[in-house]
Amino acid sequence: MKKPSRWIVDGADLSRRSMLRVGALSFMGMNLSRYLQAAPLVASSGTALPGKAQACILLWLNGGPSHIDMWDPKANSSFKPISTNVPGIQISELLPRSARHMDKLAVIRSMHTEENNHGMGHHYVMTGHRPNPSMKFPAFSSIITKEMGPRKGVPANIIVPKIHPGYRNYYKAHFLGAQYEPLEIPDPNDQGFEVPDLSLPDWLTVERMESRRTFLGVVDQLYRQKVERAEHASMDAFRAQAWNMILSPAVREAFDLSKESEATRDAYGRNTFGQSVLIARRMVEAGSRFVTALDLNRPETGRDWDTHFGNDYQHRDYLVPVVDRTLSALLEDLEQRGLLESTVVVVTGEFGRTHDLNVGGGRDHWCHCFSVALGGGGIRGGQVIGSSDERGAYVADRMVTVGDLLATIYKAFGIDWTKEYMHPIGRPLKIANSINDETGTPIEELV
C-alpha cells in the first residue's frame, strides 16, 4: 500500500524539480525544445552520465584567503576593484591576470560554513561535515574518485605536495575503501623531485623483477591455498597496478615535469604551488580524477594564508600574485588542450578573513561569509552567485553552503548529489551534506 503512494510523491517532486530546471534554462535563453534536444546529445557522447566533468583540480589555499582582497572587493579592503573580461563583474586589483579569465570562472560570494578554526574548517569544507570523534567522514575528493572510477591505470586521486600529517585525515576515503585514498606526491619544485617508488633503481632490472615474481609464486602458494582473504585480492590488484605503473612510461611521464617546456613551467610559476598545479594538469591529462594542489606553508617564503599579521602586504606581495599567475596559467592551458570543458577547477580555503583589520594589520578567521571561485567541467563561468553585505561580513543574498557547493560539483560530474552512503556504524551519510542535515542543492546557474 505504501509503494504506490510514494511513487506519487516522487513523481510530483520530480516533475516540480524538472519544471524548475526547465524554467531556469529558458530564462537563460534556452528554450524547452532545445533543452530536450540537448539531453540525448549528452547521453550519446559515450559516457552513461550526463555530466561533462571528468576530473577536478582543487586549488587549496590553506589558512583562509581574504575574500575582500580577492574575489569580493569592498571599500574596507585596502585594494581597489578592477574590471574583468565580463562586463559588470569586478574583482580585486590583486588578481589582474585572473580578471582576464573571468568568463571561465564563476565566483560564489556568499559561501557560509560553521567552523571557524583551521582544522575543523578544513575538515568541514572537504567533507561537508563537522568533525565528530565517533565517526570518520570521507572527503569529497574520495567520493568523486569512487563515483567516477579510475581511468587509464593512473592513480585516480592525488595530493601534491605532501600534506601535513595532521591534515591527512581530511582527505581520506575511510570506509569507502583504500583504492579511493589519495596518493601523496612530494614537492615538484624541489631540485631532485621524484615520485618515490615509481621507477626501477639502476641495479634492479625488469628480468630481476620477473625472477622475484617467480620466487614469490612459489613462496606464496601454500598460504594462498590455506587462507582466503578478500584483502589478498585487493593487494593483488594494487600489485598489478603498481607493476604496470613501474613498467609503463605513462605514469612516470605524467610526473615528469621536464616534458613541459620551460615557458609553460615559467607560466605556472617556478614555485611549489605553481609546479604542483602543473603536475595536477599533467595528471588529469593522464587520467586522474581528482588532484588537490595545496598552497600551504610555502617553502620559498614560509608564508601561508593565515594572515593574522600584516594581511595586506602578505596578500599583495606574496600570496595572491602566485595564485593569480598559476590559476590563469592553468585556465589557459586547460583551454588550449581542450580539457577545460571536462575539468572542474575549484579555488578555496577553509574560510575567509575578517572584514576589519586587527591591531597588527591582520585579518582573522571568518567562516560566516567568504568566496569560492570555480569553473570548467561544464560549470558556466562569467557569473557571480550570491552576495555579501557592504563590508563582506555576512551573507546578504543567497547563502551557499558546503553541501550546495559539493552538490554543484557532483552535478557537473553527473553524480547523483542526493546519494547517501551507509556508514559502518549504521548512520546514513549524505554525500552533499548541508546545514541542519539537509541535502545540498546544486547552484542552477552553474550546472
Binding site: R168, Q179, R212, F215, D220
Partner: protein
C-alpha cells in the same frame, strides 16, 4: 489539486491489488506449505519433538491476543518454526478463538487449551483470559508511541534523527515519550544547541477538528510529507490517533506513572535457519505494572545484515546466504534483538573437542548449536608465530623456532606463553599498544614512562584506569589531560571510549540516537572533571582539582591551560552537578577528590571489565566479541554475550590481572585453532571456528623485516614540523619509539601509523603505495644483501642452498619450508645465473609474501 483524483485511483488500485494479492498469497501459502511439508520437513527421520511457544499465557483486556509458534525438532537436531504447517485447535471456543497465523484472541474470561499437531506429534499450551470486558483508554505513551515506532516515524533517519526532520523531532524509538508528547501537542521546532524551540509553537494536533491535525494530514499525505504515506485515512493507526485526539490528547496517566516496558523478550533469542528457511519471531513486553503483552505486531524489525537475512514488517525472517545476522526489534521505549545463524546444511556430527577453559566452552557450544565445523588445532609452527606476534609483537628468532618445534614437552605451549609474558619484549610491545590507545603524544615523556612502568609491574588494570582518570600532579598520567586539547567533553568522552568501550561523543550535543545515553547523563559525568585545572608552563605543569571550581586566571601568556571550569549544560545553560549514570548526584561531602570517585565508580562498573576483555579479545582474534571493540551500544550486540560476561567476571575475580587475561585467551583451544578453513566453516567470520588472518601493524611489520633480513632500521627525526623526543639509537626497534609518527619513515606512513590525535586512528588497509614500495621501495629492496645482514652472513660462511633456504624460512615465516617448496626453490636458485642474486630474490619474495605480512 491535480493530484487528488490520481491518488484516489491509486488508492482504489492498491485495494484491488491488495485484495487479489491476498487471494494469491493464500493460494501460494498453501502451495508453499505443501512443498515445505514435502521438502524442508525434518525428512524421513520425521519430527522428534514438537512444542508450542509460549507454553502458557494470561490475556487481559478486551480483544487481547497472543500469537503462538509451533516448533518442531527434526532428526538432524535443528528446531524449525512450523506454525504454518501445523494444525491448531482450541478446546473452549467460548473462552478464546483462533485467528490467522497462530493467533489466539480472547472472547470471555476463563481458561482453554491450545493444541498443535504435526507429523503425528502434538503439543499443548494453556491460555487464561481475564478482564475481557475492560477497555483501556488510548494513551500517548503506549498507543501513540507504538505507532510512531512501528511506522518508522521516530527512526533515526526520519524524525528520530538528531535534528529531526522538517522541524519536527521525536526521540528515536520513543525513548523519551514525554518530550515527544510536547513537540506534538505544544508544537515547535527542535534546535540542537538550545532548549528554546525554533519559531512559534503551533500544536500539531487540532483538538476541535481532529481531521485537520497536522499529525494526521502528513502521514496520510493530505499534506506533502517527505516521508511519503505512512498509513491510509481510515486505517487502524489513523483511527487510533484520531480517537486519541478527540479524547483531548491525554498523555495517559500522570507522566512517569504510565506502565513502561520493563523488559522486552524476543523469541527466539537465537536460532538457526537454513539458507532458504524462515522463522517467525515473537516479541513480548513485560510492563512495570506486572502485565505482559504480545507486541509482535507493534514493533519494528530490522535486519542488521540483509545480505544474510531479511525480516518482514511482521517479524518473519528469511535466510538469504550463509552467515549470521542480528535482527533488531524496536519497541516504543525499548530495543531488543535476536541472533540468527543461516547455514547451508546441518552437521551430522559435531566433533568431540577438548575444552581447555571457559573460552572454549562458550565458543564450541555455539559452533555446535550453529552447525559450524571448527578447524583442527594449529600446528606448533603456526601457534608459535601467532603467539609471539600477539604477545610480544616480535618474530621468534630461527634458533628458537628450531628449539620449539623439536621439543617433545607436552606443556611446551604453556611454558612458551610464560616465557613470552615475562620477556622484555612483552613490555616493549604492550607499551607501544597502550601508547596508541592512551594517545601518548610528543613531549609527554613521563606519560610514556608511566605506561611502561605500569606494564612492567603488571599493575592491575583497574588501578591503571583510576590513575589515568583521577590523575593529579606533575607526573605520568596527568600529562594526558594537558595534551588532550583541554576540552572537558573530549576528555570525558575519551575516558569512556577507552575504559567503557562506548562512544559517548554523540551525547555531548543530543541524546544518543542509537543508544540509551542522554545528553544529561553525559554532562552529569562530565561535571566530575569540572574542577580540573593546571598551573605552570611547558614541561613544568601541574594538574590538580581546584576545590573552588571557579574560573581562575593563572596569568602568564602562552601556557596551555585546561579550560575545565564549571561545567555548563549546553542546552539549558545551567550549571551541572557531578552525577553518576543513574542520575545520583555526588554528595557534596564526597567532592574532595571527585575524579577519584568517578574513577572508582567506573572501574567497579561491569562495563569496565567487559570493555577491557573485549579490547584484548579483539587484539588476539582480529575481531572483538563486540566489534568495533569500542562501540558497545544497544544496536551492536556481542556475538557471544555469555562469553563476554564470563571473561569479564574472570578478569575481575583475578584482580584485573592483564597477564591472566592473556593466558586465558591464548591457552584456549579456540585461540590455537588453525587458520586453514574447511567447507563447513569457510564463510564464518565471527564465530572463531578458525583463526582469522590479519595484517601486521606498521611498526611490528617494519621490525619483522629488520629482524628477518638482519638489517636494523635507522630512525631519523625530521627536526621540523613535529618534535621528536630524542634521536633513536642505532638498532632501536619501531615499537620502542615513544612516538613513532615523529620519525621520517615512508614505510610507516604508507602502512598507516597513527598520529594518535584520536583513539583508534589506525588504518592498515592494503593500498597502492604499499604495492609500489614492495616492488621498488627501499625497505624491501635495500636490506636484502646488505653486508652483515642475514643473507650475506649465511653466504659468507658458505651455507648450502638448502641451509640458506631453511634459515630464511625460519627467520621470516617461522617454519621449515615444505619439501615441495624446498625442491622447487632449490631448483629455481640453481637455474639462476647468479646465486647471490637468486637468494636475494628469494628473501624478497619471503618478506613480501602475504604469509609474512599477516598474522595467521
Amino acid at each position: 489539486m491535480i493530484m487528488a483524483p490520481a491518488r484516489r485511483i491509486q488508492l482504489f488500485r492498491s485495494i484491488l491489488i491488495a485484495g487479489s494479492l491476498g487471494v494469491a498469497v493464500g493460494l501460494l501459502g498453501a502451495l508453499v506449505a505443501g512443498r515445505a511439508l514435502a521438502e524442508d520437513q525434518p525428512s524421513s527421520s520425521g519430527i522428534v519433538s514438537l512444542r508450542l511457544v509460549p507454553e502458557q499465557v494470561l490475556l487481559e483486556g478486551a480483544g487481547a491476543g497472543q500469537r503462538f509458534l509451533v516448533l518442531a525438532t527434526g532428526g538432524d537436531g535443528l528446531e524449525r518454526e512450523v506454525t504454518a504447517q501445523a494444525s491448531l485447535s482450541i478446546s473452549h471456543h467460548d473462552v478464546a478463538r483462533l485467528g490467522p497465523r497462530g493467533k489466539v484472541v480472547s472472547v470471555s474470561d476463563g481458561e482453554t487449551a491450545l493444541r498443535a499437531s504435526l507429523g503425528g506429534r502434538s503439543a499443548l499450551a494453556t491460555v487464561r483470559i481475564s478482564h475481557s470486558g475492560r477497555r483501556e483508554q488510548v494513551s500517548f505513551a503506549t498507543d501513540i508511541a507504538r505507532i510512531l515506532t512501528r511506522q518508522g516515524c521516530n527512526g533515526s533517519s526520519c524524525h528520530g534523527g538528531v535534528k529531526g526532520r522538517g522541524g519536527f523531532r521525536l526521540s528515536s524509538n520513543a525513548m523519551h515519550p514525554a518530550e515527544d508528547y510536547d513537540w506534538i501537542v505544544r508544537g515547535g521546532g527542535y534546535q540542537v544547541l538550545t532548549d528554546k524551540p525554533r519559531g512559534a509553537r503551533n500544536p500539531r494536533i487540532d483538538l476541535k477538528d481532529p481531521d485537520k491535525s497536522l499529525f494526521l494530514l502528513k502521514p496520510t499525505l493530505e499534506q506533502p510529507h517527505g516521508g511519503g504515506m505512512r498509513f491510509e485515512k481510515g486505517s487502524t493507526d489513523y483511527r487510533t490517533i484520531h480517537s486519541w485526539i478527540r479524547a483531548g490528547a491525554p498523555y495517559g496517566r500522570a507522566a512517569g506513572t504510565d506502565p513502561v516496558i520493563w523488559r522486552l523478550e524476543v523469541f527466539p533469542e537465537e536460532a538457526v535457519v537454513l539458507e532458504d528457511g524462515g522463522y517467525q519471531m515473537l516479541v513480548t513486553a513485560y510492563f512495570s505494572d506486572g502485565r505482559s503483552e504480545d507486541l509482535t505486531e507493534q514493533v519494528r524489525f530490522e535486519s542488521l545484515d540483509r545480505e544474510v537475512l531479511e525480516v518482514s514488517p511482521g517479524g518473519r525472517v528469511q535466510g538469504r546466504r550463509v552467515g549470521e545476522a542480528v535482527v533488531l526489534v524496536r519497541a516504543a521505549g525499548k530495543v531488543g534483538h535476536a541472533r540468527f545463524g543461516v547455514i547451508r546444511r546441518t552437521l551430522d556430527r559435531f566433533p568431540r573437542v577438548a575444552r581447555n577453559n571457559l573460552v572454549d566452552e562458550e565458543i564450541f557450544d555455539k559452533l555446535e548449536r550453529f552447525h559450524i565445523l571448527p578447524s583442527p588445532p594449529a600446528d606448533d609452527a603456526e601457534f608459535l608465530r601467532r603467539v609471539c606476534l600477539d604477545v610480544t609483537g616480535t618474530l621468534p628468532p630461527p634458533e628458537r623456532v628450531r628449539e620449539f618445534l623439536a621439543s617433545r614437552d607436552p606443556e611446551k605451549r604453556e611454558k612458551l606463553v610464560e616465557v613470552l609474558l615475562d620477556s622484555s619484549e612483552y613490555v616493549d610491545f604492550w607499551t607501544f599498544r597502550w601508547s596508541d590507545l592512551f594517545r601518548v603524544r610528543p613531549s609527554a615523556y613521563d606519560y610514556w614512562e608511566w605506561v611502561r612502568q605500569s606494564l612492567a609491574a603488571n599493575k592491575p588494570y583497574d588501578l591503571v584506569a583510576q590513575e589515568r582518570i583521577a590523575a593529579q600532579g606533575a607526573d605520568g598520567a596527568s600529562k594526558h589531560l594537558i595534551r588532550a586539547g583541554a576540552n572537558v567533553e573530549r576528555v570525558v568522552a575519551e575516558q569512556f571510549r577507552v575504559f567503557f568501550g562506548r562512544r559517548m561523543d554523540c551525547a555531548q550535543c543530543h541524546n544518543h540516537p542509537y543508544d540509551l545515553w542522554t545528553q544529561n547523563q553525559f554532562w552529569g559525568l562530565a561535571a566530575f572533571f569540572g574542577r580540573a585545572t593546571n598551573i605552570g608552563s611547558g614541561s613544568n605543569q601541574v594538574v590538580f582539582d581546584d576545590p573552588a571550581g571557579q574560573e581562575q586566571d593563572y596569568g602568564e601568556m602562552g601556557q596551555t591551560s585546561l579550560v575545565f571550569k564549571q561545567v555548563t549544560h549546553p542546552r539549558n545553560r545551567t550549571r551541572v552537578e557531578p552525577a553518576f549514570l543513574d542520575g545520583t548526584v555526588l554528595a557534596p561531602a564526597s567532592r574532595t577528590d571527585q575524579r577519584l570517585e568517578l574513577a572508582r565508580w567506573m572501574t567497579d562498573h561491569p562495563d569496565f571489565a567487559r570493555a577491557t576483555v573485549n579490547r584484548y579479545w579483539g587484539h588476539f582474534f582480529g575481531r572483538g566479541l563486540v566489534e568495533p571493540v569500542d562501540d558497545f551500544r544497544l544496536g551492536n550486540p556481542a556475538t557471544h554475550p555469555r562469553l563476554l560476561n564470563r571473561l569479564a567476571e574472570d578478569f575481575r575475580e583475578h584482580g584485573y590481572d592483564l597477564k591472566h587475561l592473556i593466558r586465558r585467551i591464548v591457552l584456549s583451544r579456540t585461540y590455537q585453532l588453525s587458520s586453514r578453513t574447511n567447507p563447513g566453516n569457510r564463510e564464518d567470520r565471527i564465530n572463531y571456528s578458525h583463526a582469522l588472518p590479519r595484517p601486521i601493524e606498521a611498526e611490528v611489520l617494519l621490525d619483522a623485516i629488520s629482524t628477518a633480513t638482519g638489517v636494523p632500521q635507522d630512525f631519523v627525526p625530521p627536526g621540523g614540523e613535529i618534535y621528536a623526543y630524542e634521536t633513536a639509537a642505532p638498532g632501536t626497534r619501531a615499537i620502542n619509539l615513544k612516538f613513532p609518527a615523529s620519525y621520517r619513515s615512508r614505510f610507516l606512513d604508507i602502512y598507516g601509523r597513527p598520529q594518535r590525535d584520536s583513539v583508534g586512528g589506525r588504518d592498515n588497509k592494503a593500498n597502492l603505495s604499499q604495492a609500489l614500495h614492495i616492488l621498488v621501495g627501499s625497505t624491501y629492496n635495500q636490506k636484502l644483501g646488505q653486508p652483515g645482514g642475514r643473507l650475506e652472513t649465511l653466504l659468507s660462511r658458505r651455507a648450502s642452498d638448502r641451509e640458506v633456504i631453511e634459515d630464511l624460512y625460519l627467520a621470516t615465516l617461522s617454519r621449515y619450508p615444505a619439501d615441495e617448496e624446498l625442491d622447487r626453490l632449490t631448483a629455481l636458485a640453481r637455474s639462476h645465473p647468479q646465486r647471490g642474486e637468486a637468494l636475494e630474490d628469494l628473501l624478497w619474495a619471503l618478506i613480501t609474501s602475504r604469509e609474512f605480512a599477516e598474522n595467521h
